[in-house]
């Protein structure tokens, strides 16, 4: 945890232009697209930032649906073919300056906690995670260790049941 930094939703005073992680696509997102997407409610952008607006890390959450209409009736296990609501952890990045301080782990904990909280108000059965093509191997290892698994059709996307997060939160 960094002194003076806390989780906040993106606001005007955050210095998005200074953010610099190893993934060019995520730098481009926070600098160019994050403000509008947050404002338009396409996604919620969370930043781990100081009072002065320095962003050490950020992640995004938005609503998603898993379409299981391709599943045979016999495998539905009492469910319907209705889409399964999910929460997309679409982007996740730590600034180079703050690497190696456990910020990635802390931020993932925050992200899953926010996703779980919101799922208690608006249903969501999974957290999905998009691994940036230029994401670090450490990040992918962290996701795997925490139980995220890749699905065969889309290896860049990983999935974790909300119930598992709930069980881990209630064990606090």
């Amino acid at each position: 945890m960094l002194d003076g930094f806390e989780l906040q939703q993106l606001a005007a005073h955050h210095r998005r232009d200074r953010f610099n992680c190893r993934a060019d696509s995520l730098n481009a997102f926070i600098r160019k697209n994050a403000k509008n997407q947050h404002k338009n409610r396409t996604t919620r952008v969370y930043v781990y930032a100081s009072a002065e607006g320095v962003i050490a890390a950020f992640f995004t959450l938005s609503a998603h649906l898993l379409d299981v209409s391709g599943l045979p009736e016999s495998l539905l296990k009492g469910r319907t073919h209705l889409p399964i609501p999910a929460t997309l952890l679409g982007r996740f990045a730590v600034d180079r300056t703050y690497e190696g301080q456990g910020i990635g782990r802390l931020l993932l904990s925050y992200a899953l906690r926010e996703a779980y909280r919101s799922s208690q108000i608006v249903a969501s059965a999974f957290v999905l995670l998009d691994v940036a093509q230029d994401a670090s191997t450490q990040a992918v290892h962290l996701y795997r260790r925490c139980g995220f698994i890749s699905l065969p059709s889309h290896p860049q996307r990983m999935i974790l049941p909300m119930d598992e997060i709930g069980a881990s939160v209630s064990a606090d």
Binding site: F29, H38, V68, L75, Y110, L151, S153, R157, E164
Partner: protein, 104 residues
């Protein structure tokens, strides 16, 4: 990810060609702006397209799963796993209050 032509030109097996027609004026604009930024036209076009693809992929709100994916999803829903690593992760923020609401 920002692709550069040197990433795959050395490995032709990993690169596909796309033939598209561009309005002549647009091609000229791309040529000029690429030259001004010290990059090849290919680099410039690939970078711009990649940003657009990344943004659009993430904005698609529904994910169609095939049968194999669906089986895994249903198994995850019905067969709870013990996950000590996740418990340790969530303990990091056990005392945290919810983030402040959006101000924008």
């Amino acid at each position: 990810m920002i692709y550069r032509t040197d990433m795959f030109m050395s490995d032709p097996a990993n690169a596909d060609r796309v033939d598209i027609r561009l309005p002549r004026q647009l091609k000229e604009r791309i040529r000029k702006i690429a030259a001004q930024t010290g990059r090849s036209m290919s680099d410039f076009i690939i970078t711009a397209i990649t940003e657009k693809v990344d943004a659009t992929e993430t904005s698609i709100e529904r994910w169609q799963l095939d049968e194999d994916d669906s089986r895994i999803v249903m198994d995850l829903l019905t067969q709870p796993r013990d996950n000590p690593e996740l418990r340790a992760l969530m303990a990091l923020t056990a005392s945290e209050s919810p983030s402040a609401p959006a101000t924008t």
